[in-house]
């Protein structure tokens, strides 16, 4: 069985945020009114985390593309009282929107802060509601949502392969962020397949995981930029 994972090469990232936009469109992530965004309530299944380094003449600003880390040992899954978030046999941490009671225990337990809450019912301005992706359910108010590695794309690809009576080919399933990246920063695939690009890259000497010391075992691997390593907290 596959173990889906992602490698993000920080050397290549230009911080253009195409992944962020692609994700919002693909997954029907509602946009926030400016006032709400000001309060920090925007939802991002994929976002760029800024980090400032050093002082003035040597100051640098870096950006870290951050989807859900899809931990093998996810702290959010164990704390959910109603099993509304769980990990699939293929390692994708998913959210059952129809079961979530909105207690937000998972959002507080996640050390990466990549889980988001629907403070209000989602709204789409103008004609945007007609452009919703029919493959992804729109979340009601009061539930938690998060990156699913575009799980619906896996289901679709698998259904196609099944109809054509063949196994799922590598590269057939790819999240929207990976697909949209102009500088090919992200690589996605089966971590358990030693020949896959993602498995090889994740063994690179530049490879590190976010907050590795917490023992969450993330399946998103970062490749360090230059001499910089974000393995520990900034």
């Amino acid at each position: 069985m596959a173990r889906w994972g992602m490698v993000i090469d920080l050397e290549k990232c230009t911080a253009c945020q195409a992944c962020v936009v692609a994700c919002q469109v693909e997954n029907n992530v509602p946009c926030m009114e400016p006032a709400e965004a000001q309060k920090g309530r925007s939802i991002f299944w994929m976002r760029l985390i800024p980090s400032a380094e050093g002082r003035f003449p040597e100051a640098r600003f870096r950006f870290l593309p951050m989807p859900c880390q899809h931990c093998d040992n996810p702290p959010c899954v164990t704390v959910c009282p109603v099993d509304a978030t769980n990990i699939t046999p293929e390692g994708i941490v998913r959210q059952i929107f129809a079961r979530c009671i909105g207690c937000r225990y998972c959002t507080t337990a996640c050390p990466y802060t990549v889980r988001y809450f629907n403070w209000y019912a989602p709204e789409w301005p103008g004609g945007m509601a007609e452009a919703l992706n029919p493959d992804v359910s729109v979340r009601p108010k009061g539930v938690v949502e998060k990156c699913t590695f575009c799980h619906h794309r896996l289901q679709k690809a698998r259904a196609t392969a099944l109809a054509e009576n063949r196994p799922l080919a590598p590269g057939e399933y790819m999240p929207a962020c990976v697909e949209s990246c102009p500088s090919k920063v992200m690589v996605f695939g089966d971590l358990d397949d030693p020949s896959s690009e993602v498995a090889q890259l994740s063994r690179s000497p530049r490879a590190f995981h976010l907050l590795e010391d917490l023992g969450t075992k993330p399946k998103v691997t970062y490749l360090a930029e230059g001499e910089w390593s974000g393995a520990t907290t900034s």
Binding site: E36, K39, G40, R41, S42, I49, P50, S51, L64, M66, P75, T78, V79, C80, P81, V82, D83, A84, R99, C100, I101, G102, C103, R104, Y105, T107, T108, A109, P111, Y112, T113, Y116, F117, N118, W119, Y120, A121, P140, K141, G142, V143, V144, L210, L211, L214, T233, S234
Partner: protein, 451 residues
């Protein structure tokens, strides 16, 4: 003492404790005014909650990353207050502390009433309260929140039984007086006639419940603390949270009990029953808890500071010198400095003094819960965040409403049931003096046997 007792026995037993039935049988205008004021706050709560239900939790001050605010603070606080009653009453009963008699009922009622608001705080905090029963349909027993659901329901059930059992003889007394609500009391009294067999059975069951209730109560607040300490978040992930929360709970609980007793005493003129000695004993217990609380708080923060882990220090400095410093130092002042100064000096340890100290403690312990819940969330490890959480009017109204509705239920209880246990007072008068004398005699060295 013996002379005093003899004087009291001269009055017929039926009329002696008339004062304890007064609150039930006579209602003054002040009572209705109090109820009206409390009800108006309840109304505010209803309006605020309906508004929140309609719009969503966006009407609160919560945001990313402060997902939990004063609702969860209230949850921990109310569950803490609940430790006043059942636990204290059970310990005092088991220790044969004779001074417990007039205070156990008042304590047990606090537990039962306040638990509804503790559990209610979590419901109010939910994004989808309509799905609350999912905790039974799809339980995940690895979740500390589900442990809470289990232990709080057991605690509520046990506390209700523990409140009801010692109430039965009093219900029979009310039934026999036949003044008001005769059928109601007859139904609740379960045919109590006060035979020896009934008394024996009741004492046995109360003793069993008193023993059972202690581990349940300890488990409840331990599990509440585990909601936080089982996560890996800085300053939540602490091994001493279990006992720290239990100590805090008993501490705030006794303080709430003292305030309740002082109000009951003055409003219902029960000065003869709730005497200075009761307040003195409770306040000594309170003093011990204040010192214990300080010990835990000091140990917890010193360990964090000395270890100096960067994630932990970020949160700790925000508490000690950062934006949460006013709350932190106010907590220290309210929970330790003021109460210890009042309670340790005999001159200040009057009833008024104890009530003042208790009021400070109740406020301080609420701040303690707040200072545990909010700062740990405000500085996540990776996400740069400048968010400072301000509760919105909805949250404040709901909180106010919870407090007033709790007081309202308590006040209503005193109108239906004797808030001081009548039969236990009578039993104390008739039996305990002899019992205590016999018990003390067993402590004394046996007379040398003639050889």
């Amino acid at each position: 003492m013996a002379q005093q007792l003899a004087e009291r026995v001269a009055v017929p037993a039926q009329e002696m404790d008339e004062a304890l039935f007064q609150p039930i049988e006579k209602t003054s205008r002040r009572f209705y005014i109090t109820v009206a004021i409390l009800l108006s706050f309840t109304l505010l709560f209803v309006v605020a909650y309906l508004w929140q239900l309609r719009s969503g939790l966006g009407v609160t001050g919560l945001t990313v990353p402060v997902y939990w605010g004063i609702y969860i603070t209230n949850f921990v606080f109310f569950i803490g207050i609940s430790h006043a009653g059942t636990l204290i009453s059970a310990i005092l009963r088991l220790c044969h502390a004779e001074w417990r008699r007039p205070i156990t009922r008042a304590a047990e009622v606090i537990t039962v009433m306040v638990l509804f608001f503790g559990a209610g705080s979590v419901i109010v905090d939910m994004g989808r309260p309509d799905r609350a029963l999912n905790v039974m349909l799809h339980p995940n027993f690895r979740s500390p929140l589900l442990w809470d659901v289990c232990s709080i329901s057991v605690y509520l059930t046990a506390s209700m039984v523990y409140l009801y059992l010692p109430l039965i003889p009093d219900l029979a007394l009310l039934r026999d007086r036949g003044q008001k609500r005769k059928r109601f009391y007859r139904w609740l009294a379960l045919g109590w006639t006060g035979t020896e067999r009934q008394k024996h059975l009741l004492e046995r069951v109360i003793a069993v419940m008193a023993i059972l209730v202690i581990p349940i109560a300890v488990s409840v607040h331990t599990v509440v603390s585990w909601v936080f300490s089982m996560t890996v978040q800085p300053l939540w992930h602490s091994t001493i949270f279990g006992p720290y929360f239990v100590v805090g709970a008993i501490f705030s609980g006794i303080a709430a009990l003292i305030i309740a007793l002082a109000i009951i005493r003055s409003v219902y003129h029960l000065e003869a029953y709730l005497k200075k000695i009761h307040f003195n004993n409770l306040s000594l217990l309170l003093l011990v808890m204040a010192l214990l609380w300080f010990y835990f708080t000091f140990a917890e923060h010193l360990t964090t500071y000395y270890g100096g882990g960067p994630d932990e220090m970020q949160i700790l400095t925000s508490k000690l010198t950062g934006p949460y410093a006013p709350f932190f130092w106010a907590m220290g002042l309210c929970c330790f400095v003021v109460p210890v100064l009042i309670l340790a000096i005999r001159y200040f340890r009057t009833i008024t003094g104890t009530v003042v100290a208790s009021s400070f403690i109740v406020v301080g312990m609420w701040l303690e819960r707040y200072i545990i819940v909010v700062p740990s969330l405000s500085k996540p490890r990776l996400l740069p965040s400048q968010v400072f959480y301000h509760p919105s009017w909805v949250e404040l109204f709901i909180t106010l409403g919870f407090f007033s509705t709790f007081i309202l239920l308590y006040v209503l209880f005193t109108k239906f049931f004797p808030i001081v246990s009548v039969w236990e007072i009578q039993e104390g008068r008739e039996k305990s003096l002899e019992e205590v004398r016999e018990r003390v005699a067993t402590y004394l060295p046996d007379p040398a046997k003639a050889t």
